[in-house]
């Protein structure tokens, strides 16, 4: 079934032609979600009773951290598809995601650091959550470095898959770091949606920003993948048909 699916939907040609129709919808989603999230988060949501307006950094910090972890999860899942079924699209997805993931991890660290200064009195502590996210950034950078030094495509894909899969162990460590260790970082705010520890007037803009960030990732990912597909498939007949 996986083989049939890979032929029908995951072939580079099918992927390229199908995604063409999705792009305008994704762009619309990004604009709507980010517009609502920014306006409601910055100007409508009430100030926090403890942190005052300082809490508004949550609307960029949490979405960037969530997206950074989600991207690594996508990469690790793609790595399984590459190693077990050698699906080309999964390899392209993995390599196209890395730089985006690194940028969002960097953003999560920077915005967290900026938020930490007024709330904790310091830019950085070697806290379990912060350190494990820093390790995630190094994993992304290691992945990008490995991809840039291996020239042969199949070797590159397999080596990168091993790195992506091995690094996936860091994801539960990041998520549970605030439970397993005593940390300065606060615990989960929205992971328990049935009983969130945040008021709906603050929660909805946050959810909207998270969706907006994820859609932005999807948009950039698809655009990067489409470029890579054309270059990898340059000698095939369908690329000629599509472009000429």
């Amino acid at each position: 079934m996986i083989f049939w699916m890979s032929q029908k939907f995951l072939s580079p040609k099918a992927f390229y032609t199908t995604t063409t129709h999705f792009l305008p919808w994704i762009i619309t989603g990004v604009v709507l979600c980010l517009s609502y999230g920014l306006i409601a988060g910055l100007f409508i949501a009430p100030a926090d009773y403890q942190q005052g307006d300082g809490f508004r950094i949550i609307y960029v910090h949490v979405p960037s951290a969530f997206t950074a972890m989600a991207i690594y999860f996508v990469m690790a899942s793609s790595a399984i598809l590459v190693l077990v079924w050698r699906i080309k699209i999964a390899a392209i997805c993995m390599s196209s995601s890395a730089a985006i993931g690194a940028s969002f991890t960097f953003l999560a660290l920077i915005t967290g650091s900026i938020w930490g200064k007024p709330m904790w009195g310091t830019w950085w502590v070697w806290d379990a959550r912060l350190t494990s996210v820093l390790i995630l950034l190094f994993l992304y950078l290691g992945f990008i470095a490995l991809q840039s030094v291996i020239k042969e495509t199949q070797h590159k894909d397999r080596a990168a898959s091993v790195i992506a899969l091995a690094g996936a162990i860091n994801l539960p460590i990041i998520h549970y770091s605030v439970v397993w260790w005593n940390t300065l970082h606060q615990g989960a705010t929205i992971s328990k949606l049935d009983t969130p520890s945040i008021d709906p007037s603050m929660l909805y803009p946050l959810l909207s920003m998270i969706v907006g960030f994820m859609l932005f990732y999807l948009l950039i990912l698809l655009l990067r993948m489409r470029n890579q597909i054309l270059l990898r498939e340059i000698k095939t007949e369908w690329v000629k048909e599509v472009l000429l």
């Binding site: 100007f43 005052g52 300082g54 900026i114 932005f216």
Partner: protein, 55 residues
């Protein structure tokens, strides 16, 4: 809410606005990366097709 209140953000403006500008920067870098890659891909593809199909 006037402009001063927006900039000041209850005394946290000095932290909030840089965080949002960094976010804007990361979005801009990602968009720039895609634009650069698309231009590069177009250049390589047009060069390839010129060499192989226009002769």
């Amino acid at each position: 809410m006037n402009l001063h209140e927006i900039i000041n953000m209850g005394g946290y403006g000095i932290y909030i606005w840089p965080a949002y500008f960094f976010t804007l920067g990361v979005f801009a870098v990602n968009i720039g990366l895609v634009v650069h890659e698309t231009r590069r891909a177009k250049k390589i593809l047009s060069h390839y097709f010129k060499r192989h199909y226009e002769s």
